[in-house]
Amino acid sequence: MIETNKLSKRFGDFIATNEITFEVDKGEIFGFLGANGAGKTTAMRMLCGLSTPSSGTATIAGFDIYKQTEQIKKNIGYMSQKFSLYEDLTVTENIRFFGGIYGLSNQQLKTKSQQLIHDLGLEKEAKKLVGALPLGWKQKLSFSIAVLHEPKIVFLDEPTGGVDPITRRQFWNLIYDAADRGVTVFVTTHYMDEAEYCNRISIMVDGRIKALDTPRNLKNSFHAASMDEVFYALARGAKRSE
């Protein structure tokens, strides 16, 4: 679903993302970890078709990262902790707005928004402004809207930052359900326990991917009891920090 080969991005002398090569399979939950400033955001912007690489190649859902950025955008979903939804629109209005942008028909919008509101148990809040919802609900709603148009891949940039431990787990149930439906999930997080929920993870340090494997194999090869230790062993020597 995602294939990159020596993908790089330079800003002047600074190599933000340095020859990263990896593949992500359909329906896989792929954790994209790294210290602040390691180059994750730059890489993610390229993968979403928002930033042109300096060198290297990549295809996203089969589309070329240089030439077919519009097709890429139609076939992916995106959510981050910062950009979520329009706070001064209601729950229903946000669903209609984003669904509309992704070209869903009125009929599709109607059935899908009812289904979504039902699945999240938001019936009572459907006509409330999104700004009035607790953060955890906003994040769950934001995720559901990001996958409303049935994208092939969904990119999640620190989706659970600051969310309470119960909601964090409910959020991961939504991720599992999406992966079961065949959606490929590409997720960044600073919670190392969440790294364990991924099928495979990569850890970036100073622009390069320093490790890529299943959580279990990474722990074995680093003789570490937890992902926290693996991360620490790799990122401790980082020269860049942001």
């Binding site: 210290a35 620190e158 969310v163 309470d164 431990p165």
Partner: protein, 298 residues
């Protein structure tokens, strides 16, 4: 003597009660953690204690001074690092520190011993504008500026939010050193794993305190025996646990699921065709306690 005393504090915004009858006390020299998710009311408590927001009810003192009546005294003795970076982006590192020192009628030289360990890490960039610093550097500069007038109480509002695990560890090491200088520190965080680094913690959600104690005592109050279980099919395991009549509570926890139960769970799971089952007791963490307290409340 208690450095901070909070008595039935309340703050209401329109129809939302952000801080709901909160009381706690922090001893002098203590490292006290307010642990809870975004929207729990942590920032409102900080803003009331630092005299930037008036309480709707209740009272509080910092070093014996009342947060409403004696706000001027508190502003001189408290150090505050807000969650959002709020130094002057157009001033250099050096200019920011000098500015804050001057505002508090002191000099950098006078208090250099206090910030030295942190300052030497940003000293190579002292001519750089604050706005051009990396996130980790900004955080260190903000801490220096909050310390430069040698506060007796330091308030740190989510200093590690969005920060990677390595930088988080470094930040807590800095706090540990500051504690040796006998500064009282109140720190808030949404990361449950940071709770263990505090002397005492208050777990907070929806403006209410769920529990206050030492991390060890909070963990010791967990009433059930906690088990960690895993299987080759984790997603199916989680669903099976949720459906099982033997299970009191279950939830994903990193590589494992944490579960409290009665009876022969292993046999029941095996009957459902799950393979590679490993079941063992596991130490309770603050996160387990927080989940338990939240569920009791709901």
């Amino acid at each position: 003597m208690d450095a901070v005393i909070v008595n039935h504090l309340r703050k209401v915004y329109q129809d939302k009660t952000a801080v709901d009858d909160v009381s706690f006390a922090v001893k002098k020299g203590e490292l006290f953690g307010l642990i809870g998710p975004d929207g729990a009311g942590k920032t409102s408590i900080f803003r009331m204690l630092t005299t930037l927001l008036l309480p709707d009810a209740g009272s509080a003192t910092v070093d014996g001074y009342d947060v409403v009546k004696d706000y001027k005294a508190i502003r001189n003795l408290a150090g505050y690092m807000p969650g959002k970076f709020s130094l002057y982006q157009d001033l250099t590192v050096e200019e920011n520190i000098n500015f804050f020192a001057t505002v508090f009628k002191t000099t950098v030289a006078k208090n250099y011993d206090l910030i030295k360990d942190i300052y030497i890490q940003i000293a190579p960039f002292k001519k750089r504008r604050a706005g051009k610093l990396s996130g980790g550097m900004k955080q260190k500069l903000a801490l220096c500026c909050a310390l430069i007038h040698r506060p007796s109480v330091l308030f740190l509002d989510e200093p590690t939010t969005g920060v990677d695990p390595v930088s988080r560890k470094e930040f807590w090491e800095m706090l540990r050193k500051l504690k040796e200088q006998e500064i009282t520190i109140i720190v808030s965080t949404p990361y449950m794993d940071e709770a263990d680094l505090c002397d005492r913690i208050a777990l907070i959600q929806d403006g209410k305190i769920l529990s206050i104690d030492t991390p060890n005592a909070v963990v010791a109050a967990f009433p059930d025996k906690l088990y960690a279980v895993k299987a080759d099919q984790m997603h199916r395991l989680l669903k099976a646990l949720q459906a099982s009549p033997l299970v009191k509570d279950s939830y994903a926890f990193g590589e494992y699921a944490h579960v409290t139960f009665e009876g022969d769970l292993e046999q029941e799971l095996a009957k459902q065709g799950l393979t590679g089952i490993e079941l063992q007791t596991t130490p309770v963490t603050i996160e387990d306690c927080f989940i338990k307290l939240l569920k009791e409340k709901q």
